[in-house]
Symmetry: D3
Subunit: 158 residues, 6 copies
């Protein structure tokens, strides 16, 4: 028996069959971290104050990616996403942007991958826009913070 | 003057105009880390030995994502990708999969984002296929290892 | 307080959270106009009589675009489109094609953008196929004609 | 009157309006055949035993294509796919791979095109990966085996 | 003989065969107009001053659409876009946003459709974000302003 | 050593690295067959005579799919397609549509998959539009007819 939900008894990849599951309201929140030189973060932040364009661009990229998760992650189901929101918190001293992404749906399966993908693509967009100023940017700590809805119920990261 | 290449003098997002640049052979290699409970990694590895499907699926997802970077990262240029390869190294004790992704092109601009996106989507695919067994999986240490080609020449992470 | 539904209290872009809304049958009809030299319209129409290919191509392009609105318009929700239809009316003297597009769904939010995008991409397709014969083509008067369903009820352009 | 559901009374292409139809559980199974030289099939199978990568890659490609049918087939509706599964049966003597693909949904219209497209793209992926060894590969016998659900009820190929 | 470049001698749609054409540097600039109630434009502008998000979102949407023109307009060729830039000019009294979009490539065919599509999708994004405050928004005057490069040489709208 | 070009020495899927190959003009032609009841073909043909919409729709679908092969077939390279053309030949007595698709590029690798995918998606589109009238439609005989260009030179099916 396999504990990996996408692997069938013969070890082959398969979508989980959710045909018989009911639709419930679901939510998931994920977090990721982008770390760069503090002087580069200052440029992101300064650019951010008058026009917001680095973070605004990253937000849009993350939201759009969340709506396309089923075309990116092979075994994910397409879900009717009812909300995606992305927040950024900057730590000037540490040179970090903390990205928090939340996705919601009413569906037969959860939206964890949508929240994680939104955070991930937002992080990559920040990386792309800052990489000319810092080749050593690192994306880290991408994880699920909380989820609600579905048979397994609510969960919050310990 | 801005040191962020995608922000113009008015703080607005813009694609970098590469019209006048010459095409050169370029390569980039990126790395990312997926950390899960060692007993879950054992399932991935065991599934991996006879059929290879978790890692085979993640490899395909990463390769396909690398070819779509310009539709995911708003200001990236579309490039004629000549190669994408993804390798996985498993550490049974630490519960980690180290993903190494390489992308190549002959183009006016570099393929760092393609390598990073390949690693990122491969990591998210592993996450998706293992998440039913471990809600605490973390993706980290996503960074550029090396790049070659272009005006700025070769670079290797220190 | 903002009257722009996609801007939150901090001025940031966000999807409207429709999680708590009920699904209702919805419909929207949009119109757009393509104006070209009458002699070029004659070619479109003549091509249209035996084979219909300019308008047939534009119709297909508009229908396909309506199904992808959530990947084009950043803050639009993905909707289960139940119908898209596109009609063309040609005015030989004025050199105009009037495009009327209707979209339907049963969803938590409306299909105005699907109807408008269908008309817009159909117009651009006509433009593309006729532009070698007329560089001065203009697309205009793209607007909503009517919508029905949802909390705000039915609406018809005055 | 036309018996072709996507052609309206004027002979124009149109999506079938399914607004008034109820959602029911639906399933469809399709089959396709890929024929190559037996010695090339042996390479596919041998590659298949330790690593499974030709067939694993084809399975992933087919599953991902099934989720994008509405962007490939112009008049198909987007459906919330609840399951896609793909099986392969190899006949070493005949040099054939028989592909069987099943798709499921709960929707207003059927999933035949999803099952057929999954089998078709899986077949093309096998073709792509084997074509360097055999230019004469043929894809054939792509057909519907069975469908269930919807107003017209269950159907099995005679 | 047909003067419509995408229609062959039998009236059928076809891509123009550009195989034998040389690659040249090309540029195109298009313009479009979005007209809304002045008090709604004031909200867009106010949102625009501190955070820029309506226009920043429209700019990103337009840039991303320009990179996908070959998947939207059926007979367009895929081009290696080297630059897309979008500017907005607001007329508070008239309630208008004038969108100017420029695209560049080095390719066998021109980028008019990329510039026009960028302007069109940017306009639809503004429409989407303002439509809750004004159902009567109109998109108009979408046209080519100038193009350069290619066999037909430079052209500026009269 | 493996004779399957996409499988590396460890049996893993990989894109063929074409970085070092030169660009040459390439062409490929593929064929496929759709067989239905003759009376259903008569509807397709009749619909085809005044408006051409079934075949016009299938042609557009095939052309658009050819431009997206790299997003459908996992290990295919993205190519700058310079031409895609699709022809249909109807045999009223046999109830068959023979689809012939040609693709051209100037690139480092061939366009066989583009021609085959164009024919395949055109066939599926015909299937979709005729399936309400005939559940027993079969797509068969999808194969390469000829290719030219590249290191392996010209080839014509025997």
């Amino acid at each position: 028996m396999s504990a990996l939900s996408h692997i069938d008894e013969n070890g082959r990849a398969a979508m989980v069959d959710v045909s018989a599951k009911g639709e419930t309201a679901r939510s998931a929140t994920a977090r990721g971290l982008v770390t760069m030189k503090p002087e580069v973060l200052a440029l992101v932040a300064a650019g951010g104050l008058p026009k917001g364009d680095v973070l605004a661009t990253a937000r849009i990229a993350g939201i759009m990616a969340a709506k396309r998760v089923d075309t990116l992650i092979p075994l994910c189901h397409g879900l009717p996403i009812s909300f995606v929101g992305i927040d950024f918190a900057l730590d000037a001293g540490a040179g970090t942007v903390t990205i928090t992404a939340t996705a919601k749906t009413t569906a037969k399966t959860g939206v964890e991958m949508e929240a994680l993908t939104a955070a991930s693509i937002a992080a990559l967009t920040i990386y792309d826009m800052a990489k000319a100023a810092d080749k050593g940017i690192v994306i880290s700590d991408l994880r699920l913070l909380a989820k609600s809805g579905g048979k397994s119920g609510d969960w919050t990261a310990p």
